[in-house]
Symmetry: C2
Subunit: 406 residues, 2 copies
Amino acid sequence: MALRVQKYGGTSVANIERINCVADRVQKAFDEKDQVVVVLSAMSGVTDSLIALAKQAAERPDRRELDVLLATGEQTTAALLAIILKSRGYKAKSFLGFQAGIKTDKTSGKARILDINCKNIQTSLDEGYICVVAGFQGADEDGAITTLGRGGSDTSAVAIASSLKADVCEIFTDVDGVYTTDPRICSSARKIKKISYEEMLEMAILGAKVLQIRSVEFAKKYNVPVHVRSSFNEEEGTMVVNESADMESVIVSGITCDMNEARITLKRVPDQPGISAKIFSPLAKAEISVDMIIQNTRTGGDTDLTFTVTKDDFDRALEITEKVAKEVGAEEVITAEEIAKVSVIGLGMKSHSGVAATMFEALASENINIRMISTSEIRISCVILAKYAELAVRTLHSAFGLDQIK
Amino acid sequence: MALRVQKYGGTSVANIERINCVADRVQKAFDEKDQVVVVLSAMSGVTDSLIALAKQAAERPDRRELDVLLATGEQTTAALLAIILKSRGYKAKSFLGFQAGIKTDKTSGKARILDINCKNIQTSLDEGYICVVAGFQGADEDGAITTLGRGGSDTSAVAIASSLKADVCEIFTDVDGVYTTDPRICSSARKIKKISYEEMLEMAILGAKVLQIRSVEFAKKYNVPVHVRSSFNEEEGTMVVNESADMESVIVSGITCDMNEARITLKRVPDQPGISAKIFSPLAKAEISVDMIIQNTRTGGDTDLTFTVTKDDFDRALEITEKVAKEVGAEEVITAEEIAKVSVIGLGMKSHSGVAATMFEALASENINIRMISTSEIRISCVILAKYAELAVRTLHSAFGLDQIK
């Protein structure tokens, strides 16, 4: 007997028919004598509709109350699945976030889990119940409803799996696993059988939308084995697990492409101490996160400063930057929205050299100019013009030997 | 400074525009330096849609889980009103049933309030908040979500008003008060300025849909002054209060007409001790409530037994009765679905005689045959054929001097 936490995303619970399919799968696991906790998202589109409704009510809806509103989405699907399972003769019970013991901080809209106590769920499991949990939500110390941010149901599931010491946390989604790159861009992309938390984290940060970033951090911290798989078929997906010795033999595990950034350049900024703080402090105050930063010192005592922000933040960032540019005496502000960030990710980089060289050569071979570069221990990212993005991904995928054998 | 509990029904919160109107009214009360607790229903139609959704999921949805689903309706409106009030610069906070301290028994779908502790609301009021409570819902001792039955938001409001010792509980609805009879049937119906809890209770039981029966019981028990008024205008409505000396001077306060019952007659039942128990016990077991019962003993040692049930229960009641009829040796079972129960209600009946005679004479004057009669201390009801219902109401309204002076 294993204890399985299964999480189903919005497309998997999009309507009663789909929820019935979820019930089939849950039922199968339960009939195989496993204990099952199911964590559900809202029906696809519902969260967006609720946000739209709130925006009809107020231009900038209060975050605390928006959370109360949004939490109804998962409450609905959890109740419906429990209704279906009970009508099939199974013992089933729904749990809202606060009933599942998910305690969060007070950051409405993107609350962080502070503590999780699944004793209610454990008791019900021991009594033979299938436990159906509304994902995405928790409650703060005052009992106010909070939500965990977009994709937060992944985090709910991983947190519950860690608290219950589950054997596996299965993330059922509309793709059948984590791929070496986006199969829509590169037809030779392969499904990865096993990937480390660190690599998965880099890939999630870089825009692979399979798992919420925080759910991966949580899984890594508490060592929760995560199985990403399709809710539409029975195939094995991708296991996200602790780094193991054999993983380093693969130099590069995946290629990502993030089209969601834009670039801002301040030309000819006087090269003085403290100038960077003057530029980036106002952005930080406005809660705009800056991703890559490069500074090219020129011979004449001034410097060009370039950075990237997400496209969502671009307008506000530009406004702030133009104001600051005047104050610090920069010559002008130049922008580029049509950029892409392609990255190669792999644990093997820690112990293998030459990855950067291979990457740059591959891009050069296709005459793709690199505009910015940044690196981490297990990742190298290059900003290029957006129009080359797909070519770059395919070229790198092939250069690092990731193409599947056809 | 007064403490006002305001309850708004489904049509008053049917969409964002209407919720904005509710906000206007709440804001006005608050600006007049009153403390305000708002209790909301779900948007009109939403509860029915959710029930329909649950029925897609299962023919007979589990009651516990249906409550979890239905509770989202009031959660939605409470969050939206709080969003609107906050966007207007007011301090406002939503409370779900469990957050408002409404503890109920475990009877899903029609839970009874066991205890109410509004200390959270009181604290927020003292801090200058407008408190917006999701009506219709509470939580049982295990923290499971429960609902109070159709119209339960009235009961939520009265219960909260009693717990907070509010100066008034205002029930805002789509009619502007309690009328001497249904104005759609009788154009000379008058709005009643003041009515006793007892009379209101009889009227609610008899189908006046202005207030949920249990809310009136609650108001009576805890002596909560209830003001039933329109959410569409500023007029004074009807005050529902404790019986006062002047009330008895009015002999009849209102006339009601209930078309929702059907009649079943067992012909020639052997007149033996215990026969009634044999007939009514199976109905009670099936949770069918029987309203009126009459028994006519005939000369030949047998008897006719007639009773009424609601139309909802009619099919099941008939099935059970036909089975019992065979067992006890009744001659046949006759039914009548096209009946109406007209009633006259008034505290004054306690001290005035002749009310029944006036009623029977008035009906006789129009050649309306009375099929069944039942009485309480402050009510007389007659079952007649449905086709005479409107004529009977108008005749009685006039006979008891209730017509308004035009």
